[in-house]
């Protein structure tokens, strides 16, 4: 069976409270029983001192020297005066229940044998105690009473001691539990905050270590060392791919330069020119691909955040649309802008411009002439919302995730481009603390982006 932490805590608490209460109650009732049996023993002993147990023959004798009322009265008198037994109550009554002798008077007929008496019995000097009634030959009844409480209100005092004692145990345990859970949850929160920041893109974030060498510290330390290692590996991978890109760019650039020179020389020979021109375009595509890879690496490094400045996103979108209008016109697309009021954000104007141009290019490239591409900006609570929508063929739902992956080119004829347009766009949005998603515009594609406003 598996318990959740919450139910385990409750079970533990209830068991602890039950055990504490049972212990308290056990100790209380045992002590009462012990005192009672000790008192019973004492009054029985004193009662026998006053009137020894009658022998078989004496049982039938109505009067006799040993059970003579006067004699017993004398003995009781002596016992009352004795320092040892002076605290006890004695009462001798006759057949009719009349008081014959003794230092206390009974207000009611007590049953023979041991019984409990209380303050209601109106026995002088007794609040709570025990009584022993013996029936003596000749109809005489001897009652001996004794206090079970050493002083008045002892019961209340005892209850208070128990409450304080066991109450403080419960308070200490509950308090400790709360403190302990706070401590644990603080460490967990520390770790979760770190993880959240790392997810948000700051790989330099670490869990705080207090330096007291506790288990939490060791845990945080191990976690931090794991992060160090991951960061190191990521940097190595990043360096490798950067190196590859740099290395490949050099020969490609050379190739491009040669082709361009060749092209200028063979311009007159048209066929040759077309072939070289095609090779030049290929080289340009490859260079653009590596430029995009390095750009993404740069963006994901997060360093460009240093250059963030206040920007009006709505104005920026308007400027980009103005630049792209002639390009859209040339490819036979309509480009519309749905303007909103100012949208102040903090960001990198170059990157956001590149993002918008990229997405508009994407829409122009992947939709047939006649398609309407709409750019809309609006405020959505504390966030700026930017939409790029077209009424073209769209991207099937199962392909959308793939479209965001690097080199995740889609089968359905979206062959142009280097497959890094959307990943680059997403990395730019992420750098700005925003989110980007692809949706069905029915028909067409909607790319929606939200960014925090300033």
């Amino acid at each position: 069976m598996r318990f959740s932490l919450r139910s385990l805590t409750w079970i533990f608490l209830l068991l602890f409270l039950a055990a504490t209460a049972l212990t308290g109650f056990g100790i209380y009732s045992t002590s009462i029983a012990t005192i009672r049996s000790l008192v019973d023993e004492r009054i029985a002993e004193v009662s026998l001192t006053a009137v020894p147990r009658p022998t078989g023959a004496e049982q039938n004798v109505r009067t006799g020297s040993r059970f003579d009322a006067v004699l017993i009265a004398q003995r009781l008198d002596a016992l009352s005066r004795d320092r040892d037994t002076g605290d006890l109550g004695f009462s001798l009554t006759d057949m009719a229940g009349r008081h014959v002798a003794g230092n206390v008077r009974l207000s009611r007929m007590l049953p023979p044998g041991f019984s409990s008496v209380g303050v209601n019995d109106n026995i002088k000097g007794l609040t709570k105690g025990r009584a022993l009634v013996r029936e003596l030959p000749g109809g005489l009844r001897l009652t001996v009473t004794a206090e079970t409480e050493p002083f008045n209100g002892y019961d209340r005092a005892r209850a208070r001691i128990y409450l304080i004692g066991f109450g403080s145990i419960i308070a200490v345990v509950l308090g400790g539990l709360v403190l302990f859970s706070r401590l644990v949850s603080r460490h967990i929160t520390d770790m979760r905050t770190t993880v959240d920041r790392i997810i948000a893109g700051d790989m330099n974030e670490r869990v705080p270590v207090t330096g007291d060498g506790s288990a939490f510290d060791q845990q945080a330390d191990a976690f931090n060392r794991m992060l160090d290692r991951i960061q190191q590996l990521m940097e190595e991978i990043g360096n490798v791919s950067n190196d590859i890109s740099h290395e490949l760019r050099t020969p490609l650039t050379r190739l491009r330069g040669k082709l361009a020179l060749l092209l200028s020389r063979v311009e007159e020979q048209e066929v040759m020119g077309a072939a070289v021109g095609g090779a030049l375009e290929d080289a340009d595509d490859l260079l653009a691909m590596f430029t995009a890879i390095l750009r993404i690496a740069e963006i994901e490094g997060g360093e460009r955040r240093r250059g963030f400045a206040p920007i009006d996103l709505a104005m920026l979108a308007g400027e980009v649309v103005a630049v792209m209008l002639p390009v859209a016109e040339e490819s036979g697309h309509a480009l519309l802008l749905e303007e909103s009021g100012p949208l102040p954000i903090s960001g990198d104007a170059q990157l956001l411009t590149q993002l918008l141009i990229n997405l508009i290019e994407n829409a122009l490239r992947h939709t047939p002439p006649g398609t309407i591409v709409t750019i809309a900006t609006s405020r959505f609570g504390e966030r700026a919302l930017m939409l790029i929508q077209d009424n073209g063929p769209g991207i099937a739902e199962d392909q959308r995730q793939k479209a965001l992956r690097r080199f995740g080119r889609l089968q359905q004829g979206r062959s142009a481009g280097h497959g890094l347009g959307l990943p680059l766009a997403e990395s730019i949005i992420r750098l700005h603390g925003g989110e980007m998603r692809l949706d069905d515009a029915a028909p067409g594609l909607t790319i929606s982006m939200t960014l925090p406003t300033r």
Binding site: T253, R256, E298, M324, E330
Partner: protein, 226 residues
């Protein structure tokens, strides 16, 4: 145009490649493998332009640039850097570099940029805001342009494009250079924004007759005839 070029680059192989390429365009080159040597060279000789690698031992590119400008040298400087360090571009330009390009750079692009740098120095010496090239006159401050005395009705972007071409008339302007100067973009979009705007500009320029004054150099860029 041929220049005296100082190449400050610690990678000997790359420095030699640059030298060979620039010789091909008729320029005269001097090599310096670190900032210290470069400082000595600039004091001894007059250069039209300096090509400066950012990453170098002893005195790095930025250090050299600082010393150069503090010493009152106004020679145009083109800085080279690795890709993926865009912020360095801003720092480089703020420190007094005149242009900033990522390695590797192809020979035609490099030559075009050197030409533009030297030309910009010549322009900055002149008082007038008016740029003349062949029959074309552009006044960027007044947002006006004329061809053979006839006013041209050009939108802002086309006018800035024409001004940039006219300022560098006779030498080629590559697409990245135009994107940087006319649109202020530090990236190259995959569709050719430049091509589209050149097409529109051309249409306006030949509207009232006359030859097409813009030459297309395939795979390289555009040039306005002098």
């Amino acid at each position: 145009m041929t220049f005296n070029v100082l190449i400050v680059e610690d990678d000997a192989e790359l420095a030699e490649t640059l030298e060979t390429q620039l010789r091909g365009f008729g320029h005269h080159c001097v090599l310096a493998e670190n900032g210290q040597r470069a400082m000595a060279a600039v004091t001894d000789d007059a250069f039209d332009v300096v090509i400066l690698d950012r990453m170098m031992p002893v005195i790095d590119g930025m250090g050299f640039l600082g010393q150069l400008r503090d010493g009152g040298h106004k020679v145009p400087v083109l800085m080279l850097t690795a890709l993926g360090k865009s912020l360095q571009k801003v720092e480089g330009l703020e420190a007094g570099a005149d242009d900033y390009v990522v390695k590797p750079i192809d020979a035609i692009e490099l030559n075009a940029r050197l030409n533009a740098l030297v030309r910009a120095r010549q322009w900055s010496g002149e008082e007038s805001d008016t740029i003349r090239a062949g029959g074309i006159v552009v006044s960027p401050a007044k947002y006006r342009a004329w061809r053979d005395g006839v006013p041209l009705d050009l939108p802002k972007t086309e006018l800035r494009l024409l001004a940039e071409l006219a300022r560098n008339a006779g030498s080629v302007m590559t697409r990245p250079m135009l994107l940087e100067r006319v649109w202020n973009y530090d990236f190259e979009p995959t569709t050719n924004i430049v091509d589209t705007y050149i097409k529109r500009l051309r249409k306006k320029l030949v509207e009232d007759g006359g030859d097409d004054p813009i030459t297309t150099l395939r795979g390289v860029g555009y040039m306005l005839k002098k």
